[in-house]
């Protein structure tokens, strides 16, 4: 072996060692995320994290697809209980209290140190922040989540059916009274009295409470307080809203009876079984691709005011993360929610872009120039309220869901159903008051 060869080998070994050292110095983050809409979301997320790593070579992100929202929170909670929490995750904004009670997450106020960080935290729509903050003990609000894949409820209508029924195809119902009147005109029956086309349908399987908030909010009724310790299920405004929903099917007979399946509602719309449906903005791309007729997207009708709940997922950072990891996580989240990224994410998935600045980007402006439907969701945001979320969230939500389904199937009157739900919620929440 000659000297040159020895030198070369040594140099190479040194280079390898240096590379290994660099790899070790990079901050590694595990990132759990759910998928709740159609499309190649995994690819988009992988692409975004790869772009981020390119721009930030000192941070390595390991994205882990964790299933549905329910699967994701189950995996997170199991990991937290096992002492192996990820550093970073996207989970439902309504999981906030669950994660706080488990002492699993860090407030963003603790991590945001610079003025730029603080300005960034104020850059989102207030409607989306409602589910991301709790009242702080020292006054003001504590921010636990950053909006990422957020949605809201809108109504979709079939313009052809509107024309057939003698309605203006460009004008959706603006009020509850209008929706009832239009749905009556849109409901068709055959000779033997069987309904062949329903006027309107609001899904009630799985998470009826969310759709129900599309009725209580316009009726100017709140379901819970911001601290997540009180619910108001038995208030007159809430019972009134439920009565309207029940009446649509039981009295007016313009809405399918019983429980309407969430998953088949878009399909019912494509199959022309129903003229107006309520569903998430997340279905926009789905409807756009599959509806074989002209359709419109409108705000939910008002009664006393306009309104709809928000929904979807937030970024959370976990206590388990070291200070370096927390700083890296903050940088990643800031990058992912920057106007350009938020716009690209919104265009690719149908989620509502989370900050006003995202709507001002050239990409977003070009997108909505040909397809104005996303603007409806954005404009509805100013009237939006927080999705139902309390301590012991899923249990309280179930109490309300059971009550709603009991009323919709006729097992209980709306007033009785809501009183029972409130009693159950009071029992669950008394430990947190």
């Amino acid at each position: 072996m000659n000297l040159a060869k020895i030198l070369r080998t040594t140099a190479m070994a040194a280079a390898f060692a240096a590379m290994a050292g660099a790899a070790q110095a990079a901050t590694e983050l595990t990132f759990y995320y759910p998928i709740a809409v159609g499309g190649a979301v995994t690819k988009i997320i992988d692409g975004m994290t790869a772009d981020f790593e390119k721009a930030n070579p000192d941070i390595k992100i390991k994205p882990v697809y964790a299933g549905s929202y329910q699967d994701t929170i189950t995996k997170i909670m199991t990991a937290v209980k096992g002492g192996d929490a990820p550093q970073l995750a996207v989970a439902l904004s309504t999981d906030m209290f669950t994660l706080i009670d488990e002492d699993a997450i860090v407030p963003f106020d603790e991590m945001a140190k610079t003025d730029a960080d603080k300005a960034w935290m104020k850059s989102f729509y207030p409607g989306f922040m409602a589910n991301s903050q709790t009242p702080a003990k020292a006054g003001g609000m504590t921010t636990w989540g950053i909006p990422f894949q957020r949605s809201t409820i809108v109504l979709y209508w079939n313009k052809e059916m509107f024309k057939e029924a003698g309605l203006d195809p460009e004008v959706p119902p603006k009020t509850w009274a209008e929706m009832t009147a239009m749905a009556t005109k849109l409901t068709k029956r055959d000779a033997s009295g069987n309904v062949t086309q329903w006027g309107v349908q609001i899904p009630s399987s799985g998470f009826p409470y969310w759709l129900f908030q599309g009725l209580t909010t316009p009726n100017d009724a709140m379901l819970m307080n911001a601290a997540g310790t009180e619910t108001y299920f038995d208030k007159p405004g809430v019972i009134e809203a439920l009565q309207y929903w029940v009446d649509l099917s039981r009295k007016e007979k313009v809405h399918p009876p019983g429980i309407v399946e969430w998953g088949t509602t878009p399909k019912d719309f494509f199959e022309k079984k129903v003229a107006i449906i309520w569903t998430t903005t997340g279905n926009l791309t789905n409807v756009k691709d599959n509806a074989k007729f002209p359709f419109g997207v409108g705000m939910l009708p008002a009664n006393k005011r306009l309104g709809s709940p928000t929904g979807g997922g937030n970024f959370y950072v976990f206590k388990k993360a070291s200070p370096e990891q927390r700083a890296a996580a903050l940088r990643f989240i800031e990058w992912m929610t920057s106007p350009e990224r938020a716009a690209a994410w919104s265009i690719a998935t149908g989620y509502v872009a989370v900050s006003p600045a995202a709507w001002e980007t050239p990409a977003m402006k070009a997108y909505v120039k040909d397809f104005a439907a996303p603007l409806v969701a954005r404009d509805q945001l100013q009237y939006a309220v927080a999705e139902l979320s309390t301590h012991d969230n899923q249990r309280v939500t179930k109490a309300l869901n059971d009550g709603l389904q009991a009323a919709l199937t006729g097992a209980k009157s709306p007033a009785d159903a809501m009183k029972d739900a409130q009693r159950e919620a009071d029992r669950i929440l008394k430990d947190y008051r």
């Binding site: 069987n194 799985g206 429980i259 309407v260 059971d402 009991a406």
Partner: protein, 292 residues
């Protein structure tokens, strides 16, 4: 003596892998669950503490638990006899010499091969009101527009039908294997004696199938408490808990509400119910089942 000891050592060594797996994944979890059922659920900084029978009291006072229990009994009563009877009928049919036998066997067995979640997604569209397969068929008779899964009166039965459809083909395979084992000379002897086909089936075939029936029934009972995957897709326990069965409710309590103490208590009850039925079946079997 030395070889005896060595044999014993070898025997224990051979048993070791299986017993380690059993202890780690079966016995320890059972004991662990029993222990957790007497503890409160830890939350954040609040650790678990001993609460005695409190979880059991909460469970007994919970109307949804009783509803799920009652639903589970109906679910068992609906699925077990029908799927076993159907399996036997199908096995007898496809073991006789009929044209297209292979195709028929495959058709009957297909539901078993399909994953339950996929099956449930298919059935979701069968049950869809209006354009679903079931309603389209009923529309021929002027009926239709029934919200099968969305009404508390029909939802549980819809779930039961899917289970039977899924299970019968699997049980059929066991009956089919057992039917092939019956020696043909028995049939010839019976024919000489002049016995009819029904008489032969009732007095010869059925008794010879009893060990298989016992095996299948035990499986059917276990499945009646275990097979809940499709409920997640079809109804999520709704409407208003009309299709919530024990295991589904335990999942909700354990992995949606994170109330591990209560979920453990319910698991222990479910285990007790299953153990009691299994013991009862074996006691009954001692008297009625004849092994060849």
């Amino acid at each position: 003596m030395l070889t005896g000891r060595r044999n014993a050592f070898l025997a224990w060594l051979l048993v070791l892998p299986a017993s380690v797996l059993l202890v780690v994944f079966t016995h320890y979890p059972v004991i662990g669950t029993a222990w957790h059922s007497f503890m409160s659920t830890p939350r954040g900084r609040r650790p678990a503490r001993f609460v005695g029978l409190e979880n059991y009291q909460t469970m007994l006072a919970d109307p949804i638990f009783w509803k799920a229990f009652y639903n589970n009994l109906i679910y068992a009563a609906g699925t077990i006899p029908l799927s076993v009877a159907l399996a036997l009928a199908m096995a007898v049919l496809v073991s006789s010499r009929i044209p297209g036998r292979g195709l028929l066997r495959m058709a009957y067995f297909t539901p078993t091969v399909l994953p339950m979640i996929a099956v449930a997604n298919i059935w979701l569209f069968f049950y869809t009101p209006g354009y679903g397969l079931l309603d389209q068929f009923l529309a021929l008779f002027g009926l239709g527009g029934t919200n099968w899964l969305g009404s508390p009166d029909t939802a549980l039965w819809c779930v039961i039908v899917v289970s039977i459809w899924k299970e019968a083909g699997f049980f059929m395979i066991f009956y089919l294997a057992a039917l092939q084992q019956i020696p043909p000379d028995l049939r010839e002897a019976a024919a000489i004696e002049g016995s009819g086909r029904w008489y032969f089936f009732r007095r010869v075939t059925l008794p010879l199938l009893m060990p298989t029936t016992l095996f299948i029934t035990i499986n059917a009972v276990i499945n009646a408490f275990r097979l809940v995957d499709h409920i997640f897709i079809l109804t999520r326990g709704g409407p208003d808990n009309a299709t919530s069965v024990l295991l589904f409710y335990i999942y909700e309590i354990g992995f949606k509400f994170w109330d591990e103490g209560l979920a453990s208590a319910m698991t222990i009850v479910l285990l007790a119910v299953l153990a009691a039925t299994a013991i009862a079946q074996f006691v009954f079997a001692e008297k009625r089942v004849h092994y060849q």
